[in-house]
């Protein structure tokens, strides 16, 4: 009796969680958006390490299960400049997910799992570049794959977790996209379109995902630039539109999965020559999800980047 609602969950809330988290892993290489990528370069032979901490809360459950979900995550990104135009990235997520729900028998239970998620590897190539003094415009396509490195057979006291709440998907999922960046000394605009082609594993397939992202960074301080390289404090406003197709279970569409979400995200970023500190709050302003899919309340991201 307690497993039935978990299957329901698998078709709605947790599937959404995994999709959001895996699809929006930060991959920025330089002073860049916090929820997606940038076209700015990583110098040849240079490494960039980024660590982002994530908190996600979703509790507006329309169903009788009254689901309440929290996700804590640590996402590590290592970037390397193979050439001035080609950068290679590895993204390693570690996620801790906790889900409270009311079973059909009326009991309130918690199911949680944590561990290494699915690692992403991808390359990004600067296909177009127009540089001028104090400004640049770049377009960079990228392509990569999400590896099935996360466990997909975790269990708790209630038994094995369904496919969706598992830390890993078990599937090999390619993705691709293009990001454009317009950067001046005063502000920076990034825009990205990407698509993730999820494949089937163990009878389950996440719906494909289309993302459209945009970001504006505006230098708040210092107002005047002097000699040298002062640190920049940017005010940040990002937007993320996500469309997810329905998941498929045993070859059939899951009616309680997929849909569209739009996030608007204010944030701050302090950028120096060697490190970046940043934080952003993602607020859902529109959510059109199918069936009883769980809606997001808030996502908070904070972290740092260093280059070496």
């Amino acid at each position: 009796m307690q497993i039935a609602p978990l299957s329901f969950l698998a078709r709605s809330a947790l599937g959404l969680t995994l999709l959001v988290l895996t699809a929006s892993l930060p991959t920025g290489a330089t002073a860049a958006p916090q929820t997606f990528n940038t076209a700015l370069p990583v110098a040849r032979g240079e490494f960039m390490l980024r660590q982002q901490f994530l908190y996600r809360k979703a509790e507006d459950d329309p169903s009788a299960a009254d689901r309440d979900m929290e996700v804590l995550g640590g996402i590590s990104v290592l970037g390397y400049g193979a050439t001035g135009d080609l950068a290679l990235f590895g993204v390693v997520p570690f996620l801790d997910k906790s889900l409270d729900l009311t079973t059909s028998g009326g009991a309130r239970v918690t199911r949680d799992t944590s561990g290494l998620g699915d690692i992403r590897l991808f390359g990004r190539y600067t296909a177009f570049r127009a540089d001028a003094k104090g400004r640049t415009f770049r377009i960079a396509p990228f392509v990569g794959i999400e590896l099935p490195t996360g466990d997909d057979d975790d269990a708790d006291s209630l038994g094995r977790l369904p496919a969706l709440p598992q830390p890993g998907s078990g599937s090999w999922d390619p993705f691709f996209g293009v990001v454009a960046t317009w950067q001046t000394l005063q502000y920076q605009i990034d825009a990205q379109a990407s698509y993730k082609l999820n494949t089937e594993a163990n009878g389950f397939e996440f719906g494909d995902e289309l993302r459209l992202d945009a970001s504006l960074q505006y230098r708040l301080w210092p107002r005047e630039l002097g000699a040298g390289v002062p640190g920049f404090l940017y005010g940040v406003l990002e937007g993320n539109f996500v469309h997810r197709a329905k998941n498929r279970i045993g070859g059939a569409d899951d009616p309680d999965s997929g849909g569209e979400q739009l996030f608007i995200s204010p944030g701050l970023q302090y950028v120096t020559k060697r490190w970046v500190a940043e934080a952003i709050v993602q607020l859902p302003v529109a959510q059109n999800l199918n069936g009883a899919a769980l809606e997001d309340d808030v996502i908070v991201r904070a972290g740092f980047r260093v280059n070496f």
């Binding site: 570049r129 540089d131 003094k133 000394l185 040298g228 920049f232 020559k273 280059n307």
Partner: protein
Amino acid sequence: MANPTIGRAAESRPSRKRRVQPMRKMLPPVLLALALTVATAAHTAGSAYKVHVAGLACPFCAYGIEKSLGAIDGVARVETHIEDGVVIVEMAEGATLDRAKAAQAVKDAGFTLDGFEAPAGSGQ
């Protein structure tokens, strides 16, 4: 009553001060001049080139350019001025920087060479 000994002693103190004070006052300028001489000597040991970089617009990107230019043989010091889009490259004594190497380093960093100024008398 006047005490001639005390009087002499009192008279002698200012004279000692006059002898010591000038030396104390002279010490800081001497040290400063010495430091400036050493610093100037260090700076003039090699040539300074101005590398103009197009596309540089944020602090985090400046590190890549400095690292790339700094990896060139003979480079002693690299300093970026982001507002001007200029990187000053100081060479070790006897070393020179040619435009082709600077252009390759800037390209490796993902940017575009916008100009190259060699020091006067370098023949470049």
